[in-house]
């Protein structure tokens, strides 16, 4: 009975929504086996960055709003084994005009590929971007 009660208590402590991936969004590709415009864009950037920089692309992913010290991001999660091994990959986003989008919204972002250096690490950013929701009930305030 004690073991069963402990198990129930432990299960109740688990969050009802997926836990965040350990770490921030990475702008590096994860695997060649992943399918989707965002993954393919990251793969092309990794193999030939100079060919992609300055070009306009459109990617779909999960939106994370900007914070005081981080740009907004559009990303997709790669889970190979368990939640603790999950990584978020995608792009930093600079919007051409302010849009209020809730965190976790499935969106499409159109922008021009650029790069910036953060703490000695090169990150790819979508400049002059426009975001639009891909779900019926998504409202985006501009």
């Amino acid at each position: 009975m004690a073991y069963a009660a402990s198990g129930v208590c432990a299960a109740l402590m688990l969050p009802t929504s997926p836990p965040p991936a350990p770490g921030t969004v990475s702008t590096r590709p994860a695997s060649t086996a992943m399918r989707g415009d965002l993954f393919e864009a990251l793969d092309r950037l990794d193999s030939a960055p100079s060919a992609m920089l300055g070009s306009a692309i459109s990617v779909a992913g999960t939106w994370t709003p900007a914070s005081s010290d981080e740009l907004a991001t559009v990303s997709r999660r790669v889970v190979s084994c368990c939640a603790a091994d999950a990584v978020d990959v995608g792009f930093d986003v600079r919007l051409s005009q302010y849009s209020r989008v809730a965190a976790g919204t499935w969106v499409r972002v159109d922008g021009i590929v650029g790069e910036r250096v953060v703490d000695g690490d090169v990150r790819f950013v979508l400049e002059q971007s426009r975001v639009r929701g891909l779900e019926d009930d998504v409202k985006i305030a501009r």
Binding site: M13, C81, C82, V87
Partner: protein
């Protein structure tokens, strides 16, 4: 009287803590720990069942079954369940099979090919061969460990075979502890660390202890140079807390230390091949 005094001392601290944020953070960390344990559970269970079946087989068939562990698909966590099946085998066979199945299992090799490409797949194989072979050689020539093993084997010969539940409980307990260490490393460092040199990448892999099917993906995202990527994935399977805890529990601290040295050498070989 003590309660108000303690509450009074905690008030200045409480004003700096956002209780909701702290509760959310604790829930996230617990979710990571639970995901490691729950994802490993089926493989550890299968490994323990495999070890129990091996006990019932005659010695010649048992060796063939043991070698099947090399090609067993799925997570390397299964070795926590079936490591005890190799106690009665020769040290060389035990060392080689357990290190190889963790570092170069079929699922791990496929994930490495997809994430890192053919060249780094070959580097991973080279590092795994080096680590497994060195472990086999070191355990084979370890005379002090052999005497301790003889004493354990003699003791076990007069005992009934360990029941499945006991074997499983032991493996899961060790898994829960090693998952705790991995969760602490994730909480402190996350996947934000920039693992530049092969040595730092190997330390990161050993601490984070990701699954063998996930280490290549994490390496590609976190680590930028090929030698560091291979050092990360090999360390994550040969000198990680989960693997070393299994060796210490089943084969003793001395053989665990020898396996760690062999694993480090395998990481160096893999990094050199990836250059």
């Amino acid at each position: 009287m003590a309660a108000p005094a303690i509450a009074g001392m905690l008030l200045p601290v409480a004003s700096h803590i956002d209780a909701r944020d702290a509760a959310g953070r604790i829930g996230t960390v617990f979710a990571w720990w639970s995901s490691i344990v729950l994802a490993s559970l089926p493989y550890v269970t299968l490994g323990a069942i495999f070890a129990s079946i091996r006990e019932l087989l005659p010695q010649r068939c048992a060796r063939i079954v043991a070698l099947a562990a090399i090609v067993a698909p799925g997570c390397d966590c299964a070795s926590a369940g079936y490591a005890s099946a190799f106690v009665r085998e020769s040290p060389a066979l035990a060392g080689f099979v357990l290190v190889w199945s963790s570092a170069a299992g079929p699922a791990a090799l496929l994930a490495t090919y997809n994430a890192l490409g053919e060249h780094l797949l070959l580097a991973r194989l080279a590092g795994a061969v080096a680590a497994a072979t060195l472990t086999a050689a070191m355990w084979s020539f370890d005379r002090c460990g052999a005497r301790a093993e003889d004493r354990r084997a003699c003791h076990r010969r007069h005992e009934p075979a360990e029941p499945l539940c006991g074997r499983l409980a032991s493996a899961l307990g060790a898994l829960a502890v090693s998952a705790s260490f991995a969760t602490v490393a994730l909480t402190i460092f996350g996947h934000n660390a920039v693992l530049s040199s092969p040595m730092i990448a190997a330390a990161g892999g050993a601490l984070m202890s990701p699954c063998s099917t996930a280490d290549a993906v994490i390496a590609r995202v976190l680590v930028h140079r090929s030698p560091s990527q291979i050092a990360f994935v090999l360390a994550a399977q040969t000198i990680d807390i989960r693997q070393l805890a299994t060796f210490a529990r089943v084969f003793g601290a001395r053989r665990c230390a020898l396996a760690a040295v062999a694993g480090a050498a395998g990481c160096a070989v893999g990094a050199l091949c990836a250059t």
